[in-house]
Symmetry: C2
Amino acid sequence: MTMETAEQISTRDRLIEKASKLMERKGYFGTGINEILKETGIPKGSLYHHFPGGKNELLKEAVIYSGKRQLRAYSDAMMGKKTVANGLKAVIDYIIEQFLETDFQYSCPIGAIAIESATENKVVKDACQQAYEKMEKSFEAYLNLNGIEDSLSTARIIINMIEGGSILTKAHGNIEHLKVIKDHLNKILPES
Amino acid sequence: MTMETAEQISTRDRLIEKASKLMERKGYFGTGINEILKETGIPKGSLYHHFPGGKNELLKEAVIYSGKRQLRAYSDAMMGKKTVANGLKAVIDYIIEQFLETDFQYSCPIGAIAIESATENKVVKDACQQAYEKMEKSFEAYLNLNGIEDSLSTARIIINMIEGGSILTKAHGNIEHLKVIKDHLNKILPES
DNA sequence: AACAAAATAGACCAATCGGTCAAATTATTA
DNA sequence: TAATAATTTGACCGATTGGTCTATTTTGTT
């Protein structure tokens, strides 16, 4: 009967959350099991109890978690915007915000893992692919619902620009490459 | 007086070359000093003789090397093409070729490093930034020379798409996301 | 030939890597 | 409450990490 806060986060979720954060910034190889444990204070045995597959299994879950969080954030940003162009520009604005808030430590959550070769950790690689597929379908549906032609290819172009723009933003330490995307959206999407 | 081949690659260059290849595929953290040494057969002492700064210095040089190689490959692909659209499509074709030849192990050479957070290795980070800046200026000049308006912002959009498209291509294991870029180039650039 | 500088060679180091495992503890069910 | 299952705890493991250091060999210069 301890005084506990309303929501008690499980050990498993705490591991996934921390792994997700580290992974987004340092990739698969840069994310250390021991670092996750030290920062969360969770002992090693617990990790291998919840994730018998070890690092691969934990990071697979972390990719899924990151993907969901990213998709939800994008959806929230788009919600309520009157035009498609405005909805997508709100997504870019959200990303810009993240970069500014984290002093450019933020990056494309899935990209940092997906970019690393991974003949090895196929489990993690598959999780990345599925996360991207969900995002693609989500964008496609959004465009299709608003009467945009070539909704699939347009969705792909937009995701390409977002992912690439995020890398460039991180590399340069300024948001110019993301701002350019907003301008470009005006060109390729119907006004108002 | 040994029978030696025409070109003798220096120990230094062999290290940079191998580091570059590993780094493009596995990023900063995934690239191990020991792995480089084992695969090249070069002893450890030689590495720290040529690169007193250790891993950071070697990988900085590797980023510069990768950037130059990438830029040259793009330039070669564009050369001789009559229209800007065709020149840029040739660049995408080159990238597609690389993916197919390497069974999708190829990735954006600089992106794999740039995406990893790097408050730490500032040296490497700066090298990434400079590599991207050179590429941006190169594309901008190419567009400007061919009478394209908004050459800088257009260059940035194109680089964004290339980098993002490469990540998505790697994640999905097919070239659809790169093909879409070629179609899009037709839309945003003047025909022939 | 003699000397100095450059480069090669690899043994060695502490620290960290991901992972295993047996014991102790807490929760659940009978 | 007794038995059982789920979970936590942390010591321990071999392998690998990036890095240092002292010889030895090769190269260049006079």
